[in-house]
């Protein structure tokens, strides 16, 4: 774990200069959604997970552009720790983005004199984490397998997959009972969302480790 954290720190150093731009874009999006579009925290949270997932590709672009694979292969760290550290870095980015979303949304509620709904916050956390895990769970192994340049178009598949997953029950009438069931059992849905997100992330990480060990440089 200690070495994975070293890798997370290295990723932070690598992306330090771009993180300001990412944060500015995210905050801009949050301000538009919160104060102009008056969007709900759930919509804000899920949009935030999409945007953070899109930003995640930049670490792979930077890695490829600067031949950082050579750096990873020369420093005192194991391949599995390199991959785990990268996951940790990307999930920490997501957590930071989600936290900003919640803070802005709560601030907006307080300014408007409306109560902050804990259920909404929990739903946001669960749904956005599930969406983020689904996208990243598919996208990271694709980047490790193909590299960013070759995976540019393939990496869109996770987004299409998640979109179809979200919209299918709404479009296909025979599956609409799922939505009704979820609305009736919101807390169960939240727990399942978090558990499924964690499971997808762990599985994805294991797959990425195997791929990275095979194609290190």
């Amino acid at each position: 774990m200690k070495n994975s954290l070293k890798m997370t720190r290295l990723d932070y150093f690598t992306m330090k200069h771009q993180m300001i731009l990412h944060a500015a874009t995210l905050i801009g999006m949050i301000l538009i959604y919160t104060f102009m579009l008056k969007s709900s925290i759930v919509l804000l949270g899920t949009t935030c997970s999409w945007i953070t997932a899109l930003f995640s590709s930049t670490i792979f672009i930077t890695q490829e552009k600067n031949q950082l694979n050579y750096l990873y292969a020369t420093v005192s760290i194991r391949p599995a720790e390199i991959v785990r550290g990268r996951y940790l870095y990307l999930y920490l980015n997501y957590l930071a983005a989600l936290l900003i979303c919640i803070i802005f949304s709560a601030a907006n509620s307080l300014l408007n004199g409306t109560p902050v709904s804990l259920t909404d916050i929990l739903t946001t956390i669960s749904l956005s984490f599930f969406i983020y895990s689904c996208i990243m769970g598919m996208q990271i192994p694709i980047y490790y397998k193909m590299g960013y340049a070759r995976a540019k178009y393939w990496s869109m598949i996770p987004y299409l997959f998640v979109l179809s997953l979200v919209y299918t029950p709404a479009i296909v009438k025979s599956l609409s009972y799922i939505l009704v069931f979820l609305q009736l059992h919101l807390y169960l849905f939240m727990i399942i969302g978090v558990i499924a997100g964690v499971a997808i992330s762990f599985l994805s990480c294991r797959i990425s480790v195997c791929i990275y060990k095979k194609n290190r440089v």
Partner: protein
């Protein structure tokens, strides 16, 4: 443990290329040059040592330890310089030190700062704005700052001006001064090796032509020059890398056979002569 690096019957096959049964030993306190044409297998060998590639057969021991089982410990004590820098280009010199330092228990921040000053690397300058020579020096500063015992350099001098090359060679000699460290140095510029290397490993198309002391290698051959009428069939068969022109011929012969060539001029060889002659083969013009 007197050998810092031991490569024992190592092979690696790619489609169309075989690194064939290499056995190399680098003792503590010496510099070994790795020479050969492009595609000879020098970089492949370095990648095998660093476990960036999986070998098909054989064993690689660094500091007496298996390079796969103890990869983590070995890399703690190994510094690597490639021909291209492998740090993020928007890092400053200071960022680089901070980023790399987390991976090494023996990282010395003061030493890194001192080396940066000595190499004239301004701490706030970004990597993208450094010259090639400065980039190489930065990689060296990183390697020296974690007290590396083995330094592996892959074509570090290509593209460097003569002054920077000379500086680099001085640094390497300084690096091994205490007799506890070694350098494995792959290069095309063999004149550099003649200045500093103690051992030479010469690869050609994945095969090992020679590994051992540089003195012995240079002593093994002599350059031969003569007139075409003096070039008998028997002599032609003994000459390595024979080159015939209207004015005469030249090539390499084994020193032990030198007594047979009365009418010819014999001269000292360079590593370049040996590499070029081997690539041409025996008795060819």
């Amino acid at each position: 443990m007197d050998n810092i690096l031991e490569i024992i019957h190592v092979s690696k096959q790619f489609p169309g290329f075989l690194l064939n049964d290499l056995s190399i030993t680098l003792p503590k306190g010496f510099i070994m040059g790795l020479v050969g044409q492009n595609g000879a297998g020098k970089t492949t060998l370095i990648r095998l040592i660093l476990n960036m590639l999986e070998k098909d057969a054989g064993e690689i021991r660094v500091f007496g330890q298996d390079n796969i089982i103890h990869e983590h410990l070995i890399k703690e004590k190994t510094g690597v310089v490639f021909d291209q820098i492998f740090y993020a280009e928007d890092w400053t010199i200071r960022d680089t030190g901070n980023a790399i330092s987390v991976f090494y228990e023996n990282w010395d921040h003061d030493l890194f700062r001192q080396l940066s000053e000595r190499f004239k690397l301004p701490s706030n300058k970004k990597i993208e704005s450094l010259s090639r020579g400065m980039k190489i020096k930065l990689m060296l500063a990183c390697a020296f700052s974690h007290d590396a015992r083995l330094l592996i350099l892959d074509e570090p001098t290509s593209g460097l001006d003569p002054v920077s090359r000379d500086e680099l060679l001085e640094l390497l000699q300084e690096f091994i001064k205490d007799g506890e460290r070694s350098v494995l140095f792959s290069t095309h510029i063999t004149a550099d090796l003649e200045q500093i290397a103690d051992y030479i490993t010469f690869l050609q198309e994945g095969n090992m032509i020679y590994t051992g002391s540089m003195e012995e290698l240079l002593d093994k051959y002599q350059k031969i020059k003569g007139r075409i009428p003096d070039l008998t069939w028997e002599l032609e068969q003994r000459i390595l890398g024979l080159r015939k022109t209207d004015l005469g011929f030249e090539g390499l012969v084994l020193r032990r056979d030198a007594a047979h060539y009365n009418n010819c001029i014999l001269d000292k060889v360079t590593i370049d002569d040996i590499v070029i002659s081997h690539s041409k083969g025996r008795g060819q013009s």
